[in-house]
Symmetry: C2
Subunit: 130 residues, 2 copies
DNA sequence: ATCATGGTGTTATAATATAACGTTTGTTAT
DNA sequence: ATAACAAACGTTATATTATAACACCATGAT
């Protein structure tokens, strides 16, 4: 099971890089950054990314095909994620708002769907870029 | 400007296919479907898709890299989109809920961002697959 | 009539992601 | 401690998604 906490070598390497980064990282940019550590193939990156996502350590920004470290405790195992994305400087922040999260988590589609997970991406201009 | 309404030949062809489809279509699957009509290259598809998105005629499902026709009038020019996605049968519906839309449209990130647009994707099991 | 704009067609290539295979490591049960 | 299993690893190859760059053509505005 996803007992979390114990990361494998590659998972730890990839997580370290993502956590140190100022913004979202692309898979191949991670790859280039870890070739010195003996990781040579995209597969190795993608496998680590998949597991880290499962564990809730990182999130994928779908609109950018990029990955960020989870800074929030609200998104229990990536079930409820929200991000703000600046269209100018590309800055991404995790939006952590209990009301929003609660509202969306309880939202049930009229057509009879029961949601297990959502991802929300807001786009605009950040404070600086305005 | 996006005076909309007058679609070019390629735009119309691509839109027709997406509108006729039961679910989201991938760019290359659209391409294979229009080769009989003389469209041969990905560029032609992606160009049409870009314009159709600008016009609000279609939306991109980011988590699936696929495109659906807009069935809603709430999402004025794609500024406010929400979808429900079945993780089993892959069925996608546009979620059209005025309250949700209003709530999210007025949501302003604490850090001083003013949003112009959002995209929300819900995942779960649809009625049938439950 | 020329020039800007937007669309087209084409070739090539970049960027993102997965398949498939065999090996190694780590855990658990006996 | 060791057999058995699961998870992670390394590697090669390939599939999928998307864009760059360039030449051409139609339209409408100055």
């Amino acid at each position: 099971m996803a007992q979390a906490q114990t990361l494998s070598r590659n998972q730890q390497i990839v997580l370290d890089i993502i956590e140190k980064a100022k913004g979202p990282l692309k898979a191949y940019s991670i790859l280039y950054n870890v070739q010195k550590k003996g990781i040579n193939a995209p597969q190795q990156i993608y496998r680590a990314l998949d597991k880290l996502i499962e564990m809730g350590k990182i999130h994928k920004i779908e609109s950018k095909n990029a990955f960020v470290a989870c800074r929030s405790s609200d998104c229990e195992i990536s079930k409820a994620t929200a991000f703000s994305i600046c269209e100018s400087c590309e800055k991404v922040d995790e939006v952590s708002d209990a009301k929003l999260s609660k509202y969306l988590s309880s939202f049930n589609h009229k057509k009879g769907m029961k949601f297990k997970r959502f991802n929300l991406e807001f786009f605009g201009l950040c404070k600086k870029c305005k």
